[in-house]
Assembly symmetry: none
Homo-oligomer: 222 residues x 4
């Protein structure tokens, strides 16, 4: 028999509150979403971290964003080897089936996954090197980023750079997917790299012209 | 040079609105979350589908839920083969590092991934059978579920059953992870299977005693 | 020998019900709360009144709110005189030890303590003026509020204003505590004044810009 | 100008959920409570600790319990000296004005206030000895309890005993209030001492016949 328990009371209470307010006030739209299917404008790839509240930051409403969340917002390179690639499947579905217009990779400060990668790559976390460590193997994706930042002497700056590399490595890997590259070249899709500072509520975007992250503007895009 | 564009204006606008209101009103808490780290009570595994608005349904606030979202809310079986398993990494991080108390698998109606699986398994979607189809290979995870529902004659009922199988297969697979099993047996973790009906705003939970999904209660858990 | 009796049957029954349901469904979380300690996001100061159901109104779950309840939700001014100040001790513990992010003073309609204060201050309740009246001496804290509202001619309006003064006097007094002021100035703490209408289930917040209480919004804060 | 901010969004959301469900479903009762006043059957004195969820443990509904919460659920001795005694005021109001039938002192495990008292009394927390420490001066109330348990050699047992002393000292002090003693002797009021174990969800009651705390029964009172 499966191990499964009733919904904890606090979640049930929250759900009942949502049903009686947000759902009730938007019933017509939700019914239409169910009937007509979703038509999201953007895909967002962010971290599972509970402090990265994507839907809050972007005021997301039901039906707006196709959201994939994994550890450290990483996208692996294109590897059509028949194995299971959850992130690649999500990207494929968003770009090929849903034809989203924007694909945003959202990194963040204080990322536990990135911190683990830093420790692993610098030899301080042997348990993450083990074959059986899912987190370690997943963070292997960020090793190319580590190589680019490892010589930064200041520890805090180095961590911040690696968090941003998690965005850059993902953007690089995205372009190895033929369907992503084609959509970008056909101007049907734009890619965006962001980094969110949790404590200050900051948001920086990657500007390929300068090769740096810079605060997003207050009044205009970028 | 990387392909990356400035943040689309509508997202910048939303972010600026969030910064001036929600962030400002909760600055003290966000600073504390950044300094002290996250301590989420629950992990939620849900679909990337833009209509499954996890944070809205459960009134989630910053720091409350560790959320992994992939196509069709699937968890693969335990396979410590050194390859990249993003979902397994997320589960490992949540259970081992964060020690979440609840792990909720949230399925939903009108799921495009599940629909693709149904078509693929019944021979109607040869393109999903190809090695190069990431969505197809990902949905292979649900084949054991398809086997259990394929004899249901009514098409709509069959689809609904398969959507719920996506929850059940994931719950089964979760228990193949040694660290999940141990946490469940030590009463440090409870698993929960839910299915969300988008149009009606409904929520059903899997009750292992009956082997069926039933609407969650209005006043009490289950 | 101490005077103490067994738990009344109705409370025992309630507890047994809780243990078999809510506790059992949330055992993992409660164990973790016991081991790791509390980390409440907010402190709430409310009245002891049985009709002010703080945890219900805010859907509070175990571990979320540090709650101090006294007669008329009053906070005395800062008086480090070595005497016993239970409310000041609670505020100190919440702000200094627990570092809560929000401190909410929740007043309410139909408050018996405030009514007593009104009668006492207007000379209609001599028994409350006696040295031995604990309620009278406690309500002395609200005398500055009475002075500000006493000229309001309509009795019902006057009472309502005094209930709200119980919130304002407390907010004023809170800022006389050095550790509260410092936390507020360092943006580590925000203060909030609320007034709850019991019969209508209403909730108003104090807006310092207007100097008035106004209904909280339906969709956004304030 | 007073320092006060709008209600944080998460609390507003919770409130709106409550208004649309619990309030709406119970409107008639809440209106009556507002009109007729409260008539609580019991007063509960518990700790402010966010993990001591009094209303959950006893399935409390609006109007049932008059609840006073302070650090370590302490009641000071009767001291009609004209100074402000918030706890004594709450007890006076409950017994004299509301005429509650039961007065329950609810202690708990893992109490930060009791831990502070232990450290202070054993000389390990000089900052709590300072005149300006509100927590320290408040915990002075428990010094008689410390004297009775200080010779217990096992640290964990000693802490547990002191947590229970916080209940016993309060029960003793309650009987020094003339109006409490009179109500008890007239059989209009019963006193109850409880201790709640957070991790296990346990509940023990003080039995004056044995002088010990014992688990409350499963089927009958005590």
């Amino acid at each position: 028999m499966l191990s499964a328990k009733p919904l904890p009371a606090y979640l049930l209470q929250r759900y009942n509150g949502w049903k009686a307010t947000t759902y009730t006030e938007n019933r017509a739209w939700y019914k239409r979403l169910a009937t007509e299917g979703q038509r999201p404008r953007a895909m967002i790839i962010s971290c599972c971290d509970s402090r990265v509240h994507v839907t809050s930051i972007f005021g997301a409403d039901q039906g707006e964003f196709f959201i994939h969340r994994n550890i450290a917002n990483l996208v692996p390179p294109y590897e059509p080897d028949g194995a299971q690639h959850g992130t690649s499947a999500a990207v494929e579905y968003a770009v090929v089936a849903l034809k989203v217009s924007h694909l945003v990779v959202l990194g963040h400060s204080n990322c536990g996954g990135v911190q683990g990668c830093m420790q692993m790559c610098s030899g301080e976390a042997p348990h993450l090197e083990e074959t059986s460590s899912f987190v370690g193997r997943w963070m292997d994706l960020l090793r190319p980023g580590y190589e680019r930042v490892k010589d930064e002497p200041d520890a805090e700056t180095r961590m911040r750079l690696l968090e941003k590399e998690a965005v850059l490595v993902s953007l690089e890997n995205l372009m190895t997917f033929p369907f992503v590259r084609e959509a970008v070249e056909a101007e049907g899709l734009t890619l965006h790299g962001l980094w969110h500072e949790i404590g200050e509520g900051g948001l920086e975007w990657f500007d390929p012209k300068t090769g740096l992250f810079a605060p997003v503007g207050q009044g205009a895009a970028g």
